[in-house]
């Protein structure tokens, strides 16, 4: 039976893992390669590295991180942040990433999705999306608006419609982050996840808000997410991946336990 995936997200800034709350106030929490190894040993199903390095002259650092991760862990991982061209995609994939995640760049230039899917295959292209709850309107019937630039710029675009368009353009998966829930540790945005997951036929990763294993249970059972992204609950060592998985397994959710 296909397992629900637990994916750990590492925000990487100039080669160090960092963690922020509501996109603000980041603190460095470790070495991404060492952390990736540790989570691999714990049995995580997949990893995501978001490069949030601000200065463009330090962007190559992420490639080194990717190469070192790829030499040491043998599960899929994706890389996002700062990917704006096919060359950027190629560099990350060639360094050993399984997938690339594009967010703002895809909103500003949706051809990036179709071009990426054409050259590297849909399975490589993850659409990252930051969505925030608004009053439903003609432009935003779902009541969830797409924001870009790390949650700083509203786009007056409907999140569900954007998910469907991205699927049509060839995205293989959607990583859906709720700006409202992100960093709160109070649970995923179940309604948003459910709406997007039922609107597209491709896998949806729920992101933002995970603080305890019950939150993952809820997003799998109530929102039909295919995967759940977690960060602080493991980065701060409140839980291990195996603890989360054994809880989910007891709750009747199929997870990969034999690592």
């Amino acid at each position: 039976m296909l397992s629900k995936r637990i994916i750990i997200c590492l925000d990487v800034r100039e080669g160090k893992t960092t963690k922020g709350i509501k996109f603000e106030g980041n603190i460095d929490i470790g070495d991404p390669v060492a952390m990736a190894k540790e989570y691999y040993e714990q049995g995580v199903d997949e990893l995501v590295f978001y490069d949030i390095t601000a200065s463009s002259d330090k962007r190559d650092i992420i490639i080194e991180v990717v190469e070192n991760v790829a030499k040491n862990i043998f599960i899929p991982f994706s890389v996002g942040g700062g990917i704006r061209s096919l060359d950027d995609m190629y560099n990350v994939l060639n360094a050993g990433a399984e997938k690339i995640s594009i967010n703002s760049a895809a909103v500003l230039n949706s051809e990036l999705i179709s071009q990426g899917a054409k050259f590297f295959g849909s399975q490589c292209i993850v659409l990252g999306m930051d969505a925030k709850k608004v009053k439903p309107s003609f432009r935003i019937p779902s009541g969830y608006e797409v924001w870009i630039n790390g949650g700083r710029t509203p786009m007056n675009m409907d999140a569900v419609q954007w998910a469907q368009k991205a699927r049509d353009l060839g995205a293989g998966e959607i990583c859906l982050n709720s700006i409202d829930a992100d960093g709160t540790n109070t649970g995923y945005e179940l309604n948003l996840t459910s709406m997007v997951s039922s609107a597209v036929s491709i896998p949806v990763i729920a992101s933002g808000g995970a603080g305890k294993p019950e939150h993952l249970r809820d997003v799998f059972l109530k929102s039909n997410a295919d995967a759940a992204l977690i960060a602080s609950m493991v980065h701060y060592k409140q839980y291990t991946v195996s603890q989360i998985k054994s809880y989910l397994s007891k709750e009747g959710i199929a997870v990969r336990e034999r690592i």
Partner: protein
């Protein structure tokens, strides 16, 4: 030496990295001489069947692969490599290499998410050396929209359930192929690559 056939598809370096991690010597190559002098050959890949077959034909790698099979060199297909060794694929209606009789079929539209992406079990049908030490709890990383449907039941080594029950490991004589990615399937996946590195091509 294990040759990894280079046909400009993605994912070649991942297989190479996994083999090197296991201490095995491996090289990515499209050179017929190198491929034919290897102890073993891996035919990995992600991407679309049609484009892959175009590249394979243009580089005359189809002839090389047929020679590898005839010379009984242990040969392993991975993911797209599994579709390519069948007769044809429904993806781009591509004619494939015809090493194992069968078709790569698209998952039916039955409310399941496509691609089949993530970790899933395999059910052993044949006790093949490639699956040595792998139990029924072990899961492997899949990502595909087409699945192998061999014509002959005896070519099915293991199956996986996802909407349909499909052949996730197939093989015949010195050929074996996994629909999942052993190079991305943690320790169990590495075990399969290790098994392949010791396999003499006999069942």
């Amino acid at each position: 030496m294990i040759s990894i056939i280079d046909y400009q598809a993605g994912n070649l370096t991942s297989v190479e990295r996994a083999l090197k991690y296991l201490g095995l010597s491996a090289a990515i190559t499209a050179n017929p001489k190198e491929i034919l002098s290897a102890d073993r050959v891996i035919f990995p890949g992600v991407g679309a069947a049609g484009k892959a077959m175009e590249t394979i034909s243009a580089q005359k790698l189809d002839e090389v692969i047929h020679q590898v099979i005839e010379r009984k060199i242990p040969f392993m297909g991975i993911c797209l490599g599994t579709a390519i060794i069948l007769d044809k694929s429904e993806e781009n209606n591509a004619d494939c290499l015809g090493i194992i009789a069968g078709t790569a079929k698209k998952f039916p539209d039955m409310g399941i998410k496509i691609p089949h992406m993530g970790w899933n079990n395999i059910n052993k049908i044949i006790n093949h050396p490639i699956l040595d030490g792998i139990d029924k709890e072990a899961q492997f990383y899949f990502v595909h929209s087409y699945y192998p449907a061999p014509e002959n039941q005896e070519d099915v080594i293991a199956t996986t359930d996802y909407g349909v029950t499909f052949a996730s490991v197939i093989g015949r004589d010195n050929v074996v192929a996994t629909q999942f990615h052993p190079e991305k399937s943690g320790r169990n996946g590495l075990r399969i690559l290790k098994n392949f590195s010791r396999w003499d091509g006999k069942v």
